[in-house]
């Protein structure tokens, strides 16, 4: 019949199985959940005769139970000349508090239940001999795509969010009357 050693072995096996099952359940539930909130209103950071730079902030927060890694993050304006060629548009993104002149995005870990702000700068430069005011007054609304490479407990993948730069944003920030086209 069963002896003390058998009983002991059975207890050890049950404890080990319970421990491993517990680890398995916890492990399969762990995941990063990166959420990007609505951006803040645009404000002017620089302005000269030919160009104006607007700034907005995007709040990235990790609502998951494990770390999220941002391997890359950059901003890309979608403003083709077919739509409007009076302004050249460029964009730059940096992590708040970590300005970089080279535009490089250094990989960053967002711990669970923590957040980081990404600052997007959008520069509009007048073209075709127009003054800044003339160029901006005919400007159309356009999106800036913020593209980021995310990882954590899941394989790396690129995701994107769109930040809409509206005519109204531009007019209000630049302090000009928008033309009726």
């Amino acid at each position: 019949m069963f002896g003390v050693i058998d009983l002991l072995a059975a207890v050890i096996v049950v404890i080990t199985a319970c421990y491993l099952c517990g680890k398995l359940i916890i492990a399969t539930r762990n995941k990063q959940i990166l959420v990007v909130d609505e951006h803040t209103p645009f404000t002017v950071t620089e302005r000269d005769d030919k160009s104006i730079t607007l700034r907005t902030s995007l709040h990235f927060h990790n609502d998951g139970t494990s770390c999220a890694t941002l391997l890359d993050c950059f901003a890309r304006p979608q403003m083709p000349y077919e739509q409007y060629d009076g302004c050249a548009v460029s964009a730059k993104l940096e992590r708040e508090g970590v300005p970089r002149e080279d535009g490089y995005f250094e990989s960053y870990i967002i711990e669970h239940k923590e957040a980081v702000n990404m600052i997007v700068y959008v520069t509009l430069t007048a073209r075709k001999g127009l003054t800044l005011e003339e160029a901006l007054s005919h400007m159309v609304s356009f999106p800036v795509e913020v593209i980021y490479e995310e990882s954590g407990r899941t394989p790396c993948e690129y995701k994107k969010v769109r930040v809409e730069v509206t005519r109204e944003d531009i007019g209000r920030a630049a302090g000009i009357e928008m033309a009726e086209d």
């Binding site: 080990t16 494990s66 770390c67 890694t69 490089y104 250094e106 990882s151 394989p155």
Partner: protein, 219 residues
């Protein structure tokens, strides 16, 4: 007795186009004496040997995705690409079985079995964000043949000894390769406050002046 002094040596970013022995020889020229110890950060040695991989270049298996979930959140193997990079060099099933046995070992109070049986790279891999730009987007393996490399560094610099160390800002310092005659762990303890710096700092070399006298005084 001559005083022990640590001199971090700044360099430009070293890449796989550089030879680590030549680079150390060039940057430490005229600074190293016969009583000194030349130390180098392990990730930089690995990078100059081309021992890094971009996560996008890995084929991530389901086994790696599953196994990485059992590594604590801050570990370099806690991501599918970190785990896959280990499986690619040490074998998928060796790593998976070691992980399972490591978990069983923990039930009985035996820790570290995974790192013992999972292959030497299990403890050496640095996941993304673990190294300075532009390698912050890469997974960096441990250096190859570290004991051969330190021998060459010693010959090239004329130092008392050379050491490759894995040091981080968490006050951990580990010897990866060291020349004969140097008490590795004692020397590594001198680097606990990480004079190499992490992230964007570019000081992968550190000279410990008058190390020989210091070590003999401690014996």
């Amino acid at each position: 007795m001559a005083e022990l002094e640590r001199i971090p040596v700044p360099t430009r970013i070293l890449t796989d186009k550089d030879d680590i022995v030549d680079s150390i020889g060039r940057y430490t020229d005229g600074k190293v004496g016969p009583d000194d110890l030349v130390c180098c950060a392990e990730s930089v040695v690995a990078i100059t040997q081309g021992r890094y991989v971009h996560p996008e270049d890995l084929h991530i298996t389901k086994v790696a995705q599953f196994c990485c979930r059992f590594i604590p959140d801050y570990g370099s193997l806690a991501t599918p690409h970190g785990m896959q990079s280990l499986m690619d060099v040490e074998g998928k099933w060796r790593v998976a079985i070691s992980l399972f046995l490591g978990a069983v070992g923990k039930v009985f109070g035996v820790k570290g079995l995974f790192y013992k049986w999972g292959g030497k790279e299990a403890a050496m891999i640095d996941d993304v964000t673990g190294t300075m730009p532009p390698f912050d987007k890469c997974i960096v393996y441990g250096p190859a043949e570290p004991y051969e490399v330190v021998k060459k560094i010693k010959e090239r610099t004329g130092a008392f000894g050379a050491m490759i160390a894995d040091v981080n800002d968490l006050k951990r310092s580990r010897v990866v390769g060291v020349t004969d005659g140097v008490d590795g762990q004692r020397a590594a303890n001198l680097l606990l406050d990480n004079p190499f710096g992490n992230a964007s700092q570019k000081t992968p070399i550190c000279i410990i002046k008058n190390y020989r006298q210091w070590q003999s005084g401690k014996d």
